[in-house]
Symmetry: C2
Subunit: 437 residues, 2 copies
């Protein structure tokens, strides 16, 4: 058996500590499988005194991850520091420049600097593995980089943020408000004190940017993603969706179209019968549509120290076996430019909820606006809510429209006209419907 | 870029023809990703004249796959002949002995000779890849061999036969009999003219035998699997299961227990809320429970020429990249012996359907038999079926029992006693309940 592979772990939060523990608990099994013992020989974190429940006594300690990347006696640098730049970026660059292999769980770093880092890694014959950066414990990076490499991918989509899925699931199951579910998610540690990054869809967008590159062999383009979070979703929407046979999920979708590649993150109506509709709670799921394989879906834990450590260690084991894959599936120098398909051309069905003033002709005006924009309606649901008194007062009544396939441009235009006519009491709610089998 | 990797494809049925087509259609993409062009340079099949919709003119033709394995000018031998011995086995052995890499979709061959062939491959520094042998287009072999290699697996289970799942799904959805659904499956090409191999669970058992070895690092042991097919499942069972919150699926399950490893294939009651319950039609799904990752589930097409070709080509691409993995995850010489946990010790809940003679004391006798065997009952459902006249004639009435966790031994003993007392009109139906989250 070869010499031990020496690992340096930068960042000893829940993931880092779990990686150290996994390598200690299952080191023998891993050595047997990969043909090479793996040993953590250096670690880096801010607070040396903190008890992390693992024995670090045999490892060299570095206060600074960049110093560890530059000088530690290691073969693989594991970056679990986090952040799209700063110490994470500096240490990864330093490690790759030395020809060290790098394993990272850092989606923000890859979304921003992925192509650059891939070039650097490939110039130095170093591996850059990042299974844990997308969907935690789910092996979607390897599946796309290797298992589906013979397919032309037409679409990749998924539930990539457990916080949002937890909130949407509880809103539906228990009829609770967004705010109440978010507060619970924070209490349970599923959401940060500042939840913006999760609930506004940015976390999903980072992961999607990586998946898009893997799916289509294009350069990562995270700044061009259409991003809409879940804060505008109400229990009324969830209830109406359910009555119409849909669930609402925050999806990240990348799809090849005639005009380029769409990358979009938004609340999405998915048919209840679809597999993705049935992913509940903090779980993640990613689906890939390939021309030969059809659709493959992977489901599992998208976060958590132990699940994420499972992916980090799989990346390490690949390096131990000598398995080298282009960082983004295709060699970085050969990636195609990303050609963006703008959202206005997005084609699909739409759910529209309007608060319509209860007066003669209002509904006819709405119907005319839709017809003028060439939008056909699949369903129209108007149900009076509230008491006889509220009807007497002519309070706005909710009207739900489901369109047949049309374009984003047409819908936006129609809704602008409807608003300008003064027949609705509030800005319309609009949720895209994803075509799924 | 390196020299082209030369492929010999033995067997040109739907899968073989799809592999040739995939390599022709996506050859450039594959070469870019794996760093090496891949080219089919030899083929073998019985009938040279048949039109397979692909251009074979540039390839050397062999009538005999063994001759091709022995003498063709190739780097990889792709075995798509089928069968657990004969030409498939002979050609694979011949290829490995020459040091050729082998890719196969042949589950029967691996279930029977997998350890032997793995030893042979590893002695000759050859790869033996078989992603397509388990669950068609789903990348479960790579996931277990590589992505989850850091985990101690406690259980792997799945829906591994699309024919059975199609039949069970239609029986539930449309209330049709087993026979009617089987006939439809045959008409649609989902089932063979002789469906025994599928519906009696043997196909599932072959795939399970491979998964067990990958999960636990043990030698393949396909002869010791407990196998029970779906022919005894009635619409009455499916209906009763549904009322109690379950679906019936044919599962293959391998599970570590205190006394060894259980390998079992049988109709299984799974909670409707579980992910596996929601896999409908010809789809396959495999779930792996690992100590770090938790549960990961992969869903996709388990059969079909194109989906299977996707997996065959992924195996080829791995070889093109130079990725070498022990055939069964662990080097074959280091696999542990398989220690069988007998079915009598199997612990779980049970569904029992009895046809009870409608006379005083019958039910008390059944309850006493269960109590004597120390079996606690979670539910008892007795609903008179048929007309007042049938009740008048004291025809047997169905009684459904759901037990709490007990052992197979206790259940079998209790059911034997119940039958010996003459209170039931037919052999009891017994379906195991799988504990799932």
């Amino acid at each position: 058996m070869s010499d031990a592979l020496r690992i340096g772990v930068a960042g000893l939060g829940t993931v880092g500590a779990s990686v150290v523990r996994l390598l200690q608990e299952h080191g023998d099994q891993l050595a047997r499988k990969s043909g090479r013992p793996v040993r953590v020989s250096a670690v880096s974190a801010r607070d040396r005194g903190r008890d992390r429940g693992v024995d670090l006594s045999s490892m060299a300690w570095f206060d600074d991850p960049v110093a560890m990347a530059r000088s530690a006696d290691i073969d693989i640098f594991v970056e679990l520091v986090g952040g799209e730049s700063g110490a994470a970026e500096d240490s990864v660059r330093a490690a790759l420049q030395r020809g060290l292999h790098v394993v990272t769980a850092n989606k923000a770093l890859l979304a921003k600097h992925g192509v650059d880092l891939a070039l650097l890694a490939e110039q130095h014959n170093a591996c850059l593995n990042y299974e844990a950066a997308v969907a935690g414990g789910i092996p979607i990076v390897k599946t796309m980089r290797e298992s589906l490499s013979g397919n032309a991918v037409s679409r990749v989509y998924g539930i990539l943020n457990g916080t949002c899925n937890y909130i949407l699931t509880r809103m539906e199951d228990e009829g609770l408000s967004f705010e109440a579910c978010l507060a619970d998610a924070q209490r349970l540690g599923y959401a940060e004190a500042d939840p913006t990054f999760d609930i506004e869809g940015f976390d999903t967008a980072h992961k999607l940017a990586i998946l898009t590159s893997l799916a289509f062999g294009t350069k990562i383009s995270s700044d061009t993603i259409y991003v809409e979070g879940i804060t505008s979703i109400t229990t009324a929407d969830i209830h109406a969706a359910s009555e119409l046979g849909y669930r609402i999920k925050l999806l990240g979708v990348a799809q090849r179209t005639e005009s380029g590649i769409e990358q979009r993150v938004h609340p999405t109506m998915v048919p209840k019968s679809s597999a993705i509709a049935r992913i509940d709670g903090v779980l993640n799921a990613v689906a890939v549509d390939g021309d030969f394989v059809g659709e493959v879906i992977l489901v599992g834990p998208g976060a958590g120290g132990k699940a994420t450590a499972s992916s980090v260690v799989a990346d390490i084991a690949d390096i131990a076996r000598g398995d080298e894959t282009p960082v983004l599936g295709t060699p970085a120098a050969e990636l195609d430019d990303y050609v963006r398909a703008g959202m206005r051309k997005h084609a699909g069905g739409y759910y529209i909820r309007l608060a319509v003033y209860d007066r003669p002709g209002a509904f006819a005006e709405i119907a005319n606006c839709m017809a003028d924009a060439d939008i056909s309606l699949e369903s129209i649901v108007q149900r009076r809510n509230g008491s006889a008194a509220s009807i007497e007062r002519a309070e706005p009544q909710p009207v739900i429209l489901i369109t047949y396939e049309t374009t984003e441009e047409a819908v936006k235009k129609a809704l602008d006209v409807i608003q300008s006519k003064g027949v609705v009491a509030a800005a319309p709610q609009m949720i895209r419907i994803e075509k799924l089998t």
